[in-house]
Symmetry: C2
Subunit: 254 residues, 2 copies
């Protein structure tokens, strides 16, 4: 039968900068008697990838520019956090009191460039902010390669984040890094139920995987940042999450 099993991997430790994420994930998997197989997909929350990659910035070290101070005043945010948001962004999409939506340098349009208060941690009594990985697609590829090297299995990796959306309330999991599976599944031209040729059938399969994983990850509070998805039978692809970014000229809502 056409079926998926989606399992939150227990006992993932709190990740520290410099940790070997692949090693820690594989340890947790074996501890849970979960043996990876070819075609499995690991969905991994952005926070632990960024943590392992040392993307923490001490707010005390941030000097806000005049521009950041001005945007902070308009949005009611910490000027130091706004400075980092602007550094991480290509352009401001929308802003108003309490809201700063930007187009991230990676192309993703989201609130606060993925930086929010829930990413702010006390480490050694200092306020730090967690930025997105420098290159989440590369991070996903590195994890995939390291797992292949250690276990000899080919898995897909999706690095997930939680985004709000225009038109709809609530956050959903989305893919910001992808390796070893299609991000966007172009099924254009396949006949539909009635024999018509489907016109627009690109399925954002990596986003659907991230959303499915989000059902188990919930919020950071639950400490379930790694989810194993089994049964997808997706083709192996050399894809990137940036394939999911709508080109500006195709976006009617910039």
């Amino acid at each position: 039968m056409n079926s998926l099993t989606i399992t939150a991997v227990p006992h993932i430790p709190h990740i520290q900068p410099g940790d070997n994420l692949a090693e820690l994930i594989l340890h947790a998997l074996s501890h849970a008697n979960l043996a990876l197989a070819d075609g499995d997909v690991l969905a991994i929350a952005q926070k632990i990838v960024s943590k392992a990659e040392g993307r923490l910035v001490r707010l005390a070290d941030v000097q806000p520019t005049d521009r950041a101070i001005e945007v902070a005043a308009q949005t009611d945010k910490d000027p130091r956090v706004v400075e980092l948001i602007l550094q991480e962004s290509e352009e401001i999409s929308r802003m108003r009191k309490g809201v700063l939506v930007v187009r991230h340098r990676l192309g993703f349009t989201s609130a606060n460039a993925g930086i929010d208060r829930s990413n702010v941690a006390q480490s050694g009594g200092e306020e730090t902010v967690l930025l997105l990985p420098l290159d989440p697609d590369a991070s996903a590829g590195k994890l995939r390669d390291e797992i292949a090297a250690r276990l000899g299995v080919q898995v897909g990796v999706v690095i997930t984040d939680s985004h709000g959306r225009p038109f709809r309330l609530g956050t959903v999991g989305i893919a910001i890094g992808v390796a070893g599976l299609p991000a966007l599944w172009d099924r254009r031209g396949e006949p539909d139920l009635y024999g018509y040729q489907l016109q627009h059938t690109d399925v954002a399969v990596a986003d659907e995987i991230a959303a499915a994983a989000g059902l188990l990850m919930g919020q950071a509070a639950e400490g379930m940042p790694v989810v194993l998805v089994r049964g997808l039978n997706l083709p192996t692809r050399d894809a990137r999450a940036t394939d999911l970014v709508r080109p500006k000229e195709m976006d009617l809502y910039r």
Copy 2:
């Protein structure tokens, strides 16, 4: 372990107007030896709900207004289909050649009010178009109630559709009808990993369920319009998919 199983229910027959959907789904479930249990969630593709509810319109019966003819010219679409799109909509959100995004009377913002060529069927040699259910939340509630009456089990029901999005390419499954589970899960105030109070943690859980189901439903071509999701442990709620509609005053991208 924290785990979900997501199963596409095999042997759902082609649905005809007037069919008893609950009966056909329960028959397919028992045929597949899938016994529903309290807390299970059924994700059901909008197309078969609309079909069963007789939401087919013969294009030959549609008289386009001048407005529809004008919009059809601007968007390169069939004036009769545009007429139906406008009848189903509150307002046009964006349009250009080949694109007509509207705010549906139900509040959802989507292309063509959920009507597209892949919904056009030949029935008795006539072109017909399939509209969304009149009230998908009510349709979901009716299915939930009928299943409770027949089996004595309390299931959640999510009626799903496939939407494109601003900023991102590809379609994802979203919820247009919900019964017996939260559409939006407000976890505001729960502490995050670092002990901070999370500020914005409404999770669009019904949309994540729809996206997860979308991984198995794929396109209509696959004929897998019913998906069983087991293991969610969601609270029973009297929720509606319209809870997921962002109020206009809160939407920066209208």
